[in-house]
C-alpha cells in the first residue's frame, strides 16, 4: 500500500521531530561528556580541556558521592515501596461499589496535579511546621511534643512529601489494571472457598504484576531526578542530598563544571540502566 512517494512524504513529516530530539539529545550530552574530561571552573577562569579521568576519579572517590548514592537509593526505594503498596490497596478499594465513587477518585488523584514547589512548601509550612503545622496540632492534641519534621527527620519528610505526590499516579494505573480483572475467575475462586487473602495473593497480585512493574519503572525514572522538593525544603542538607542534587550543586552552585559533568554522566548511565528495562516492556507491548 505504501508507495515510494508516500514513504518519502512520511519521512518528511517525521523529520522535524526526529531532528529536534536528536539535537536535544546529542548536543548537550556530548558537551557534558567533553566537559567531564576537562578542568572547567568558569568563576575562576580555569579551563584545561583534557585532564583524563581525574574528574571521574575525584567524583566517585569523594564521600559525598557515596552518601548521595545511598540517599538516592533509600529515597527512591522507600517512595516506591510506599506508593506501590498503598497504590494496590487503594486501587482495590476504589474498585469496590460505593457512593460518590467519582468524587472520591478526584480527591485521591488531586495531589498529582499540584506543582512540586507548591506541594513541598505546603507540606513544609502547613503540615510539618513544628509550631503551626497541622501535624503539630495533632501531636499536641494527643499530648505529645510536636516533631520538627524537616530538621529531625529530613529524609523521611521528603519521602512522605514525594510519596503523597506520586501515590495518585500509582493508584490510577493500578486501578486501570484492577478494572480489567476477570470477575468470573474471582467468583469461581470465592465459590471454591478461597479466603480473601489467598484470592489476593494467587489471582489479583499476579494479574497486577505487569502494571506494578510499569509503575515501578516509570516512577523510578521520574524519582531519580527529584529536584524541586529538595530545593525548597532542605537544599540538600541533613542527608537529603541525592545524586541529582549533588550534580546540581557542583555544576551551578560551586561552578565546578568539570567535576559536575562527570557526575552528570554517571547519573545518565544509572538512569539508562533502569530505562532499558522499561523500554523492553514498552517495546513488547508495541508488537502486540
Amino acid at each position: 500500500m505504501a508507495t515510494k512517494a508516500s514513504q518519502s512524504a512520511a519521512r518528511l513529516m517525521m523529520a522535524p521531530a526526529v531532528v529536534l530530539l536528536l539535537g536535544w539529545m546529542l548536543v548537550p550530552l556530548i558537551t557534558t561528556l567533553y566537559f567531564s574530561f576537562a578542568d572547567f571552573r568558569p568563576l575562576r577562569g580555569v579551563f584545561e580541556p583534557w585532564i583524563g579521568f581525574d574528574n571521574y576519579e575525584r567524583f566517585v572517590s569523594s564521600s559525598s558521592f557515596w552518601d548521595a548514592v545511598t540517599t538516592t537509593l533509600v529515597m527512591v526505594g522507600a517512595i516506591l515501596a510506599i506508593t506501590v503498596t498503598l497504590g494496590v490497596l487503594l486501587a482495590l478499594l476504589l474498585d469496590k461499589p460505593m457512593f460518590g465513587q467519582g468524587v472520591v477518585r478526584i480527591l485521591v488523584i488531586a495531589p498529582f496535579f499540584v506543582m512540586p514547589t507548591v506541594s513541598a512548601l505546603v507540606w513544609k509550612n502547613m503540615m510539618m511546621d513544628p509550631v503551626n503545622g497541622v501535624l503539630s496540632h495533632v501531636w499536641r492534641f494527643f499530648g505529645a511534643t510536636p516533631h520538627d519534621w524537616l530538621v529531625e527527620t529530613p529524609l523521611l519528610s521528603i519521602i512522605l512529601i514525594v510519596s503523597w505526590q506520586w501515590l495518585p499516579f500509582a493508584t490510577l494505573i493500578l486501578l486501570t489494571a484492577v478494572q480489567s480483572l476477570d470477575g468470573e475467575q474471582l467468583e469461581a475462586a470465592e465459590m471454591d472457598g478461597a479466603p480473601p487473602l489467598k484470592r489476593f495473593w494467587f489471582i489479583i497480585l499476579p494479574h497486577l504484576a505487569r502494571a506494578i512493574t510499569i509503575v515501578t519503572l516509570i516512577q523510578t525514572i521520574f524519582l531519580l531526578s527529584i529536584f524541586a522538593e529538595i530545593f525548597v525544603t532542605t537544599q540538600g542538607s541533613f542527608g537529603t542530598r541525592t545524586l541529582t542534587y549533588l550534580v546540581y550543586q557542583r555544576v551551578l552552585e560551586s561552578q565546578n563544571v568539570g567535576l559536575g559533568s562527570a557526575g552528570g554522566i554517571i547519573a545518565v548511565i544509572l538512569a539508562n540502566i533502569v530505562a532499558i528495562f522499561l523500554m523492553r516492556i514498552v517495546g513488547k507491548n508495541l508488537d502486540a
Binding site: 505504501a2 514513504q7 512524504a9 513529516m13 517525521m14 522535524p16 521531530a17 526526529v18 529536534l20 530530539l21 539529545m25 548537550p28 550530552l29 558537551t31 557534558t32 487503594l90 469496590k96 461499589p97 460505593m98 465513587q101 472520591v104 477518585r105 478526584i106 480527591l107 488523584i109 488531586a110 498529582f112 496535579f113 499540584v114 506543582m115 514547589t117 507548591v118 506541594s119 512548601l121 505546603v122 502547613m126 497541622v134 496540632h137 492534641f141 495518585p168 494505573i173 486501570t176 531519580l224 524541586a228 530545593f231 525548597v232 525544603t233 550534580v247 546540581y248 555544576v251 551551578l252 559533568s261 545518565v268 538512569a271 539508562n272 530505562a275 522499561l278 514498552v282 508495541l286 508488537d287
Partner: protein, 276 residues
C-alpha cells in the same frame, strides 16, 4: 438477605474510601481554607476548620506585593506555547508513524522515548551555557523551546496511540475515492483525530505547567513562571502562612480543574500506551 448484606458492605466501603480520600486531599483543602484566613487566624492554636472570618485580603496582598498576574502570564505562555509548538511538530510525525509504518517505526518510537529518560541534570550546564551564549537565559522563548523538547516524546507517543485507533480502512476508502493527501488529512483524519489531540494538549499543558527543574534553573526575574514564584516563598518572613496559602491556591487551582478532566489521559500518556 444477600442484598441487605451488600448494601451494608457498600456503606462500609464508602465510609472507608471517603475517609481515605479526604485524608489524602486534606493538605490541599487546608491550604485553600487557610488562604481565606487572616494571618492571626492562620496561626491560631488550636486552628479552626471552617469557623473563622472569611477574608479575601490575602489574594489582594499577594498580587500587590509580587505582581502574581505576571507570573501567571509567564506560566500560561510557557506551558501553552510549548504544548502548541510540540503539537505542531508531533502531529505530522505521529501521523506518518501510525499510517505509514515501516520496519524502523518501532525503533524510532522507542528511541524518542529514551530521550525522555535522560536525566535533566546531566545536560544542565550545556543548556545553561547555550542560553547564556544566545542571550536567552531568563527568557520565555527559551523555556517554551526546552519544555517543548522535554514533552515532545510524550506528545508523539500519545498521538501515535490515538491515531492507531483510527481504522486504516477509512483512509483507504478515501484514497480509492480519489482524495488527495491534503484532503485526506483535512476531511477524513482530522475530525477523527481531534479528541485525541485535545487530550494530548490537556495532559501536556499540565505537565509543562508543573515542570520545576528547568523553570527553576533557567529563570530569574523576567520569565519566572508560578513554579519559581512559589519557590521564592521558601524562606518565611514574619506572618506569611495565609499569604503562602493564597499564592499556592492560585498557582494550583487552574491545573486542579484541568486535571480532573484528564484522569484517563494521564494513564495513557504517562505509561506510553503500556497500560490502557
Amino acid at each position: 438477605m444477600a442484598r441487605a448484606a451488600s448494601t451494608g458492605a457498600k456503606i462500609g466501603w464508602s465510609a472507608l474510601a471517603w475517609a481515605i480520600g479526604l485524608l489524602i486531599f486534606f493538605p490541599i483543602l487546608w491550604t485553600i481554607l487557610t488562604s481565606f484566613k487572616t494571618e492571626a487566624e492562620a496561626i491560631a492554636s488550636p486552628p479552626s476548620l471552617f469557623a473563622f472570618d472569611w477574608t479575601l485580603e490575602n489574594y489582594g496582598v499577594v498580587q500587590e506585593r509580587s505582581n502574581y498576574v505576571r507570573f501567571l502570564w509567564n506560566s500560561v505562555i510557557i506551558a501553552g506555547g510549548s504544548t502548541l509548538l510540540g503539537i505542531v511538530i508531533a502531529v505530522p510525525a505521529a501521523w506518518a508513524m501510525a499510517f505509514q509504518p515501516t520496519k524502523r517505526t518501532k525503533d524510532i518510537l522507542l528511541w524518542m522515548l529514551s530521550t525522555k529518560m535522560l536525566p535533566a541534570v546531566g545536560v544542565l550546564y550545556p543548556i545553561y551555557l547555550i542560553c547564556i551564549q544566545l542571550g536567552v537565559l531568563d527568557s520565555k522563548a527559551a523555556l517554551v523551546f526546552i519544555l517543548m523538547l522535554i514533552n515532545l516524546p510524550i506528545i508523539v507517543w500519545m498521538l501515535y496511540t490515538y491515531f492507531r485507533e483510527i481504522p486504516g480502512e477509512i483512509l483507504e476508502a478515501a484514497r480509492m475515492d480519489g482524495a488527495s493527501l491534503r484532503s485526506e488529512i483535512l476531511y477524513v483524519l482530522t475530525p477523527m483525530a481531534v479528541p485525541g489531540i485535545a487530550s494530548t494538549i490537556l495532559l501536556n499543558f499540565i505537565l509543562a505547567w508543573n515542570e520545576a527543574f528547568w523553570t527553576l534553573n533557567l529563570t530569574a526575574v523576567n520569565a519566572a513562571p508560578l513554579t519559581a514564584f512559589i519557590a521564592s516563598y521558601s524562606s518565611p518572613e514574619g506572618l506569611f502562612f495565609a499569604k503562602l496559602s493564597a499564592a499556592s491556591t492560585m498557582a494550583i487551582a487552574p491545573i486542579l480543574i484541568l486535571g480532573w478532566f484528564s484522569q484517563k489521559q494521564l494513564v495513557r500518556g504517562l505509561t506510553f500506551g503500556a497500560v490502557k
